[in-house]
């Protein structure tokens, strides 16, 4: 098995899938000649040409809308929004058109689009190049939202997303692109949408996370284990909509204590839905409050490094919450 960076796993999967199926097209700002701002799509245009790797005008609404239209009549478009922060002009197309088109057609219309976009902070990107907006989308029936951070998961989920007949928002943590490396199986392996992964087994407390915060959570879990021998289970959600109820509830039944960690704002975040799910369906198993460590009440990540650090959850903040939880 080859070891790959997250960014290479995504790029290689695009190459492999495009070779196998000429219905797949890639479109977005600077995805062609420039190979993408992060170089996720580098080289695609050389192999597949301008017809399948389309440099679009600076027009997010149309990038998604055009993808929807092409998808209706049989193409499998993979649209890129250059940064998650730029997706707002396309929200109308995503929420009002893509997410609702199957329902309003009584099931007649498929909308097999993937919208890939880099998200997240910690790269000094400042207010408009750091946002984690996932909860604006996870509330939307008709849409699927995935956020794999492990390279094998990203490859497997991208494959599933491309061939899924429903629209999928595919979130890529930009800080993870060249930081996270792992083994990636060959031969077109897939990871099903809607399945979380127990990354580390444990019995005393469960941490539920995704994205870069998964690694901060693991660091905090290991630190606590070394310190006092507690056994911490860590779950990577991987898919944010639909949530993997089974994996979440099974872990809660085992540990009775839950800490949810994400970079996005805490209020109204993905963690709020996970907490509600647990409160509604696993209440008898709980030995303590469902706790969250997440982004603060700030509308976007500030530029200055000390402020950025103050914004971001980290192993230390997670560790402090774990110790609080352990007291119950």
């Amino acid at each position: 098995m080859a070891t790959k960076l997250l960014i290479d796993a995504i790029r290689d999967t695009l190459f492999e899938e495009m070779r196998g199926d000429d219905r797949i097209i890639v479109l977005g700002e600077d995805v062609g000649k420039r190979g993408g701002v992060f170089r996720v799509t580098a080289g695609l245009i050389d192999e597949f040409g301008e017809e399948r790797v389309i440099d679009t005008p600076l027009a997010e609404s149309s990038i998604v809308g055009v993808a929807i239209g092409a998808a209706l009549h049989g193409l499998l478009p993979v649209a890129e929004i250059q940064f998650f922060d730029f997706i707002h002009p396309a929200m109308d197309q995503i929420m009002n058109e893509a997410a609702k088109i199957r329902y309003r057609s009584g099931g007649d219309f498929d909308c097999p689009i993937v919208i890939r976009t880099p998200y997240g902070g910690g790269v000094h990107g400042a207010l408009y190049h750091s946002q984690s907006l996932e909860s604006a989308f996870t509330r939307e029936p008709g849409l699927k939202v995935v956020a794999p951070v492990n390279p094998a998961d990203a490859a497997g989920l991208l494959r599933s997303a491309i061939h899924d007949p429903d629209p999928v928002l595919f979130l890529e943590h930009k800080k993870a692109y060249r930081l996270i490396r792992d083994e990636v199986p060959e031969n077109g392996h897939t990871v099903p949408i809607g399945k979380a992964k127990v990354v580390k087994e444990g019995s005393d407390v469960t941490i539920i996370s995704y994205g870069m915060m998964l690694y901060e959570s693991l660091a905090a879990a290991n630190a606590l284990e070394e310190k006092d021998g507690s056994s911490v289970e860590v779950i990577d959600l991987r898919t944010l909509r639909p949530l993997d109820k089974e994996t979440i509830l099974a872990s809660v039944a085992k540990t009775g204590k839950v800490l949810i960690v994400h970079e996005a704002n805490k209020v109204g975040g993905v963690g709020a839905e996970v907490a509600a799910l647990i409160a509604e369906e696993a209440f008898p198993y709980l030995d303590g409050p469902i706790m969250r460590v997440a982004g603060p009440e700030v509308p976007a990540m500030p530029f200055s490094p000390p402020l950025e650090q103050a914004y971001l959850p980290n192993a230390e903040k997670i560790g402090a919450a774990l110790e609080q939880l352990a007291a119950f």
């Binding site: 700002e29 500030p302 530029f303």
Partner: protein
Amino acid sequence: MTSPDGSRTKDLTLGKDDLLHLYRQMVAIRKFEERAAEQYAHGKIGGFLHLYIGEEAIAVGAIDAMEDRDHVVTHYRDHGYAIALGTDPRRLMAELFGRSTGVAGGRGGSMHFADPEHNFWGGYAIVAGHLPIATGLALASQYLEQNYVVLCFFGDGATNNGAFHESLNFASLWKLPVLFICENNQYGMGTAVEYASAVREMAKKAIAYDIPAERIDGQDVLEVREAVKKALDHCRAGNGPFFLEALTYRFRGHSMADPEAYRTKEEVEEWRREDPILRFRGKLLAEGVATEDELNAIDSEVDAQMEEAVRFADESPVPDPSTLTDYVYTEPVAVR
């Protein structure tokens, strides 16, 4: 030094002080940007940094033509406007360093300069997102009968976005005093105009909304100044918006991390011969307005000023992390 193209610069009708002021402003932007690039390389500045080098004549010519009461709204490549408006370069450099003395207290960084004292409503990182805002500022001017004009700067790439078209239509429909200035530097990031826009001349897009439009040489500070003066008169007289397309070129990459595979060295070299500062300098010398020594003295003064800006930024304190949640609302609000 003489410019190879000094002869193609607009006639010098301004007085010497005014001409030297234009020269100084352009040099100030150039040197500010060069210091920023250097400090980025030293790791003192992080994140995204977009330089205005090569396009200085537009900010300087346009801002010199405006009145104090006029307002400015720009895209994210915004350092040049702030300097031309007279914002203290020390506070601008401090913002790039993410320090508490910066114009946004270190919160915004490169793309979000602003200066209320100069009616500068800031740089906007969301491309084309500021055009409706500029249009709204112009609506306020009309409503309040304050007779100011809003100068709205943006790139060629922005003209392909819906917000651009909506704003032009609004402004024209209501005859709002807004001057749209499109800096056509031939590229939006790595995408050349011909790959992104069905219409190669941005000014044509304005004509579709019945807005008078003109294409100008964006490398000639005097031509920009004159065209903007006329355009502002048009807007101020209640005739509605005006549109200028200034042809220009960014000499550096889109941002500091740009391999520039989308354009040739020859093309860049060709445009570097149209350096707005060298052209103007050549003109000033050729016409005997100033001597080499006088211009060199300005260069040195600006050098010292930018040196001081870097020193100030470097010695400024970082923001206190406890201020993270300040300024979300007028007063802190407990949302739950």
